[in-house]
């Protein structure tokens, strides 16, 4: 067992971070906010060229031939950087929808009764196991109604006649999508932790950096204590691909992303409440992602259903149990 990043994985991750620093710095982020989250096609193609969408396609199909663990690292970086766009849907569509793998096509997805992201600029829409393109897509878009999105980076459309929620019986693609969304949440949670720590060290009140006050210090500690278990859960779920494990990872990453953004905002005080600070972008995106692809109630029910000594994959042993666990040493 070596549940750590391999050298290749580390290189992949830092390569992605360098790429995003270069092609999606803070100026481009704020520019994306100002144009309401509509996509930069050139950037989308750059992501395609870097293998972001084709990462898990076999090499013989023009892909990179890597797996979910590597994809999770890239999506974590995307989440850190607040990279806009239907990243998960387009990644899942690689090999299924023409141009998705290369970043030539923008592919979005219908997810339960949630409003659909980036619909106006989408070249295809995943609906269940299929994809709408061409005339059916145009008809679908025509019947949709734009809504004023709470997240400035994610334009939303209500689609006519709500599609039934898919959560009741998710398929393999749904779980993969949930995992990659969890990875984005993880990246966001880690980023807001860093931002909060940075601010707490810089901002002085009452003659000291606010990070020297326990109230602020402990908020930061709790942020890390949300991020690290979520990280272990997301990475492990990427390795095993187990549905219950993915569900657990999504739940914890959602909680880490939303609550860390809230704490980061609190630590920033009034400045955190402004449009100019990035923290609200993390929070609003985290809200959207938490509702998407295995949201709270459905995830909790799946995890509850996965419990019980007789259930498969419950992590229990059939061996006879011994009393209470050791309470640890005194001293």
């Amino acid at each position: 067992m070596d549940f750590q990043l391999s050298d290749d994985q580390r290189a992949l991750r830092s390569g992605m971070r360098d790429l995003l620093d270069a092609v999606f710095d803070r100026d481009r982020l704020r520019a994306a906010v100002e144009r309401g989250g509509t996509l930069d096609r050139a950037l989308w193609r750059e992501l395609g060229a870097a293998g972001f969408f084709a990462l898990r396609l076999p090499e013989e199909a023009g892909g990179v031939g890597l797996g979910l663990p590597e994809a999770v690292l890239l999506f974590e970086e995307a989440g850190r950087a607040l990279l806009p766009g239907p990243l998960v849907a387009t990644h899942l569509a690689a090999g299924l929808v023409k141009g998705a793998a290369e970043g030539e096509a923008v592919v979005t997805a219908v997810d339960g009764d949630l409003p659909v992201a980036h619909l106006a600029e989408a070249d295809a829409v995943l609906v269940g196991a299929g994809a709408l393109v061409g005339e059916p897509l145009r008809a679908f878009v025509a019947a949709a109604r734009p809504v004023r999105s709470v997240d400035p980076l994610t334009p939303l459309h209500r689609v006519a006649g709500r599609t039934a929620a898919t959560e009741a019986c998710p398929g393999a693609l749904d779980y993969e999508g949930a995992l990659l969304t969890a990875a984005e949440q993880l990246g966001s949670a880690a980023r807001t932790t860093e931002t909060a720590v940075q601010h707490a060290g810089d901002r002085t009140q009452f003659g000291s950096p606010i990070g020297s006050f326990q109230a602020v210090k402990h908020l930061c500690a709790d942020m890390l204590a949300r991020t690290e278990p979520a990280r272990a859960a997301v990475y492990a779920a990427a390795v095993t691909g187990d549905p219950v494990e993915i569900t657990a990872a999504k739940l914890l990453a959602d909680e880490a992303a939303v609550r860390n953004a809230r704490d980061c905002l609190q630590i920033h005080g009034g400045m955190g409440f402004t449009w100019e600070a990035d923290v609200h972008l993390h929070l609003k995106r985290a809200w959207l992602r938490a509702a998407a692809r295995l949201g709270g109630a459905a995830a909790e029910e799946l995890l509850a259903a996965g419990l019980g000594a007789a259930r498969p994959g419950s992590g229990s042993s059939a061996a006879p149990g011994g009393g209470a666990p050791e309470a640890g040493g005194g001293g």
């Binding site: 391999s6 210090k217 890390l224 278990p229 914890l252 109630a297 419990l307 000594a309 001293g331």
Partner: protein, 384 residues
């Protein structure tokens, strides 16, 4: 990110399982929790069996008589013994997990030869005399005085939270040998024989009604100077070398046990009808996510420790902070599952609920853990 065990690791697990399967059925029944001599006998007998089978001191260095196992092997050992329902380390806890490793790291050849083998064989039991009534979270504020008198220290003071004091042969004791030095600099580490005159042990009853801890009063107890490990006044460092030696395995057995408890709670809720309560059911679902993540985080920390060769880790504080709260939530959920039975101490989980109340306090309160995480990991400035 590799979660598969190597062939050698699997082989280690197979042999351990075989041995456990052959050995556990022959164990005598567990003694009553109130019968201390019987508990000592049971725990040390088990240690002797481990010794004979080659599992004693699994994580100790080979030159200290241990097996020099990797952190991953240690994880497998803890996981498998917990799953098999093997006895806990019990009375051997301090000897195997703290005093022994301290002697191994800092003791002289003579000290190692005197104290280590009896711990591994289950012949001698150690207890720990660190905490004091006025020095809890602020351990270094300890005031128990040791005054040099010829070839002995004469020690007076009071210790608290000493497990197994009633049946221990030795106590690893922190004493103040220089009252004028800064508080971390005037402390020494001594091995105190528990049969020395002047030691009074008084059981300390916890809110769970048990007497697993004791207070220990020292009235001019003489301890030979040769029982000091490390230099005089260097005891803080000597102790911290071991206390901070964290291979990520501290809570392996507990997390395995918590996950089993969670499964049992779901079974019980389905049986008694409380599964229909969506609030409770979803709460159990969240706990499933929580303990799965804690298990994966354990593996992550162990693997990190394996890579770094067991360098003191800081991840342990994050783990403990999260785990302490999760364990308390687990037993709050257990009370919900039990419903009206939650007030009957003889029902399973009720005493565990009471015990879990200490988790955010013992071995560094959650408040202290947050300070550690914020200052040592996140690099926030010192303060209050």
């Amino acid at each position: 990110m590799d979660l598969t065990y190597t062939e050698a690791e699997e082989e280690f697990r197979r042999r351990l399982r075989e041995w456990l399967a052959g050995t556990l059925p022959g164990l005598p029944p567990k003694p009553s929790p109130d019968d201390w001599p019987a508990r000592r006998a049971y725990d040390t007998a088990w240690q002797r069996m481990l010794y004979d089978a080659g599992y004693a001191g699994l994580h100790w260095p080979v030159d200290a008589g241990g097996r020099g196992a990797t952190p991953t092997q240690h994880l497998i050992y803890l996981e498998e013994t917990e799953k098999a329902g093997a006895p806990y380390v019990g009375a051997n806890f301090v000897g195997l997990l703290h005093a022994g490793p301290t002697v191994a790291a800092e003791g002289t050849a003579g000290q190692r030869a005197r104290w280590l083998p009896p711990v591994l064989r289950g012949d001698e039991v150690w207890c720990q005399g660190f905490s004091e009534p006025d020095a809890g979270s602020d351990l270094a504020a300890l005031r128990t005085r040791a005054v040099r008198d010829g070839d002995a220290y004469v020690i007076s003071g009071a210790k608290i939270w000493t497990s197994h004091a009633e049946v221990a042969d030795w106590c690893e004791l922190l004493v103040r040998t220089d009252p004028d030095a800064p508080k971390h600099r005037g402390i020494s580490w001594l091995a105190m024989p528990m049969d020395a005159p002047g030691i009074t042990v008084r059981p300390l009853r916890t809110l769970a009604g048990s007497t697993e801890f004791a207070e220990m009063f020292l009235d001019e107890v003489r301890v030979p100077v040769r029982n000091r490990v490390g230099a005089e006044n260097d005891g803080w460092r000597v102790t911290m070398v071991t206390l901070s030696f964290e291979r990520g395995t501290a809570f392996v057995g507990e997390v395995v046990a918590c996950r089993r408890t969670l499964d049992a709670l779901a079974d019980e809720a389905r049986r008694n009808g409380r599964w229909d309560d969506a609030v409770l059911r979803r709460r159990l679902g969240r706990l499933n996510a929580e303990f799965r993540a804690l298990w994966r985080l354990t593996q992550w920390n162990v693997a990190e420790s394996e890579r770094t060769g067991g360098v003191p880790g800081t991840g342990g504080s994050v783990f403990k902070l999260r785990y302490s709260g999760a364990r308390q939530e687990l037993y709050e959920a257990a009370a919900e599952v039990l419903g009206a039975d939650a007030f009957d101490v003889d029902r399973e989980w009720v005493l565990d609920r009471l015990s879990s109340l200490s988790y955010t306090i013992a071995a560094g309160t959650s408040q202290i853990q947050r300070n550690i995480v914020a200052e040592r990991i996140l690099g926030l400035p010192k303060g209050r």
